[in-house]
């Protein structure tokens, strides 16, 4: 428990020190609970998520970093590996491929990479996965872009 706290504190300091290192990721710790983090990530360019800002919620277990953090999207996203309702993310490094050497920052990077490279064969969002698996790239992209505009972009007017 103490180890996870020390580790998270170090990550917090690291984030404060290198705030500008990765402009696509903004990682914020909860004011009162170091086990709760929020991240804002920018949708990668040349994807339907370009221009959107997505919010992630981190819940860090006490066994961290031996156990992976629980991460989910708070912002609605149309992606084959993200549950449309709960925001749950299907990503190997958040499950069995987790390594204690990873950090919250690197998890954010992995999620950005997942947004750019969806894995339709292990879908949490079946509609999205089916579109991609049937080869309807255009259909997938228009749906994803629509939800990005609706949920991840600042409202106009």
């Amino acid at each position: 428990m103490q180890a996870s706290r020390a580790r998270l504190f170090k990550e917090y300091k690291e984030v404060q020190r290198e705030k500008t290192a990765d402009p696509d990721i903004q990682l914020v710790c909860d004011d009162s609970n170091i086990f709760k983090w929020t991240a804002l990530i920018k949708g990668p360019s040349e994807t339907p998520y370009d221009g959107g800002v997505f919010q992630l919620a981190f819940s860090v277990p006490e066994q961290y970093p031996l156990q992976p953090p629980q991460v989910r999207f708070l912002t609605k996203i149309f992606h084959p590996n993200v549950h449309f309702k709960t925001g749950e993310i299907c990503l190997d490094i958040l499950k069995n491929a987790w390594s204690p050497a990873w950090t919250l920052q690197s998890v954010c990077r992995a999620i950005i990479a997942l947004m750019a490279h969806p894995e339709p064969d292990s879908p949490l969002n079946c509609d999205s996965g089916n579109l991609l698996r049937s080869g309807d790239i255009r259909g997938f992209q228009s749906m994803a872009r629509m939800y990005t505009r609706l949920a991840a972009m600042p409202k106009k007017g």
């Binding site: 428990m1 103490q2 180890a3 706290r5 020390a6 580790r7 504190f9 170090k10 609970n33 086990f35 709760k36 919620a57 819940s59 006490e62 970093p65 031996l66 629980q70 989910r72 708070l74 309702k85 709960t86 925001g87 491929a97 390594s99 204690p100 050497a101």
Partner: protein, 349 residues
Amino acid sequence: MSTQPTSTMVSDSIPMASSNPKDFAKKKRVNRSAKLKQCKLDARREQWLSQVKNKGSKEEPNGEGGACGQGIHVANERGNLMEKLAIMPQGKEEENGGCMNHYSDFDSPSNSPTSHTSSVLEGNDSGTNFTGGSSSSNSSSSGGCCSGSMSEEDNEEDDGCLDDWEAVADALAATDKKQEQHNSSLDSAPESDGNVVNMSSQVSGMDSSQQNPKGRGTLPGSPVSIRAWRPDDAFRPQSLPNLSKQYTFPMNSGRHYRGGSVWGCKSLSIPTSCPICCEDLDFTDTSFLPCPCGFRLCLFCHKRILEEDGRCPGCRKQYKHDLVEGETTRDAGCLMFRPARSCSMISRS
């Protein structure tokens, strides 16, 4: 639709909140252990101080600072060394050669701590032999200094030896100067003698190089000596720093190894804190290489990982079983295992 996420949030946050008081207790415990550690350190320091007091009481009755007594001792020796070295300038080449060999041992980072200490021993031996070549009385004095520092375990004790080496370096510089002087001072023997006295009274080589022109100025009307010192003035400031650098850099690392604080040197390639728990790595941790991929972590985290999935955080491969066994013997804390372990580490990496 929106109730589901919030419900999970609540259920998550309840155990977290309840865990906070426990964290507080832990923190307190850590503070107490830190205090204990400090107590131990203080006790050890006092022990060491009393040792030094006993040893240095012959020279310095008040013996307040061990380093002080040592410094005076070394300063006395310095004069000795310089005179003795000046008598045998050809010994200098030997000394340089021997030293370079011995320092090249230090430079190779893959060496185990034990091999380093052995090389330190050799280095001291060669140093003693060399001074013995120049004069028997000198060898006995410097040898005594070295052996004294070897018998002590603490870092500060080694400073005496370091000073000794610096004294040798200074003496070498003085020897150089005297050689150059001898080349040119056939006509003006009395002046050069005065300069030698000046030099040997100087402690640092840089100061003596600045002193030399002054010494010349006090004795005007000797064109030969001016001609002789011109090239010397040009050379000294460049060559002296080089010399002192050569000696101080390896000696620093040697001192670290002998003192047992290896992390000072090894930190070049090894992280100072465990990447998993962010605690500082101690000596045992830094010499612990559990996976051929080179990922290092503290023994505590390694044990915790073994209890769970047993995969290396660096490469996600299973830790090998023989390494696990080696780890348990290490946990027994037996010093006798150290050489064997460091040897096997080298072969693995």
